[in-house]
Symmetry: D2
């Protein structure tokens, strides 16, 4: 079956960032569109953790644009907050991927901005939930034509299956 989706195991990746001044607006909170940037940053670091920096994938001529995005904003993030970005792969197929993301306020704020990594299977994110959402993507080539990942970069497709 060409495009059978595979439900992923329950493994979250976590990374951290600190809210930049430029990301605030005159309400005194993070401007909402920036959460999509953070979603992307989480996906990027997740894929890097799995061994495939996205900039190398693009050098192979594969792009992964967003086709759908949705988010729910529970509580605002503030300037200089340390926030945790949690990401997991919800589904993937030969040409599509869907990620789930949670943005949480760091309950520890222990100063270790480099803290990151995969959580043990089944372990849940923690910290005050600020924003959650999902993004859907399709693999395309430089001419923006849908492209099968298992043909173009089979090593990534295999890695995803083994995850």
């Amino acid at each position: 079956m060409e495009d059978e989706s595979v439900v992923h195991k329950d493994i979250w990746f976590k990374c951290k960032l600190r809210v930049r001044y430029q990301e605030t607006d005159q309400m005194g909170v993070v401007y909402h569109a920036n959460y999509l940037n953070w979603f992307e940053l989480g996906r990027t670091e997740f894929i890097r953790e799995l061994g495939f920096p996205y900039h190398e994938i693009e050098k192979h001529g594969l792009l992964l644009p967003v086709t759908e995005a949705e988010m729910k904003l529970k509580h605002p993030a503030y300037y200089d907050d340390v926030v945790l970005i949690y990401v997991r792969l919800l589904e993937f197929s030969h040409i599509r991927m869907q990620f789930e993301v949670e943005v949480r306020r760091d309950p520890l704020d222990n100063g270790d901005m480099a803290e990151r990594g995969l959580l043990a299977s089944g372990l849940a994110p923690n910290g005050e939930l600020l924003v959650k959402g999902t993004t859907k993507h399709v693999w395309v080539n430089r001419q923006w034509k849908p492209t099968r990942l298992d043909k173009a970069m089979p090593e990534i497709y295999t890695m995803l299956q083994d995850l």
Copy 2:
């Protein structure tokens, strides 16, 4: 009933913008988070058209943060494209609002960047559909507490009912 939602009549507001260089990314298209900025810009101009510039509403101590957003990206917008932003009010209540937005490539590109206004009732948006989505909002005060629009600024609430 406190929070009964009112389904709105089918009136679209239209305005225009030109894609900025800063809004592109290295894929050569508009970076997806920017569509949320354009959604906001459309809402702002829509509310201005109805007689209530949002900056004046904020001066009354009312804010309208986003609580949910979702969008589907059909085709990318490119640098220097002239795009039409279509907005309509899907629902509103004493404390909530939901907008629908469509981003379309201007089929005319007649150079009149100031073209804007309410479409006649029932008239549909035109132009190549690039992105569509919805945003949900809640009226809050400066302390970020939900606030009834019909109490805080009844003239706006009445205007919305009469729309």
Copy 3:
């Protein structure tokens, strides 16, 4: 002489924009880096006015990256302000250009957002001065190598000389 600079005649180009919510920060003013976006927007519209949309120049394989920028911030711009962007060409050579830009609060705010055009020679910008600055640029090709404008697109070079 290869790179002789030509001092330009005193002709300002003017265009308009309205401050976006996303451009504000928690100080309640426009975040300073955004003025560089507006400088760019002014240059883009200036070049368009002269008959050469920048996106068409890029299609010819010529890029005009910024090599230097400086700005002085006199007064902040606020959300929803109507601001005038004034641009003029300070100098140009076979491979370089320098622009001067002024951002001013629109003294009229007459609602005509499409107002734009070249001022008569010698006519000065008006409106409250918010920010002024200059940017320097070099013409390069897609491999980022300096490229002579008079060789690559002589029609633009001639137009600049005749300005």
Copy 4:
């Protein structure tokens, strides 16, 4: 003398960041205005290192807006690059500050994104120089009136003198 400037000792602060996809433009490089964001990020982390998180200074009612900025762009930064931000205090007085910033490509890229700290006195930044610049600032209160740092937060002024 009210506003005597003090030339600072030659101590650089260093921190790191990774280039975000959103920061690129269709030239395939970092959009130039983003360097000003990075300059700010460097200043923020420098001040944090000295013991005074800027968000706490703002809570005291002091703001430090930019009054002048200039930068020279030598080489572009690319997506996913690890860059070092070097900052030092050039001058300060009772009401003004001037910072110098250098953005350099990390020569090591050792994966330690948390690497940061003050360099020993006299030690020079290293790595490929991408962008350098300076920013000038004035201390103001919430009403945007110039405010003497030594009166408003003498502990910071003393710390700067002892640096």
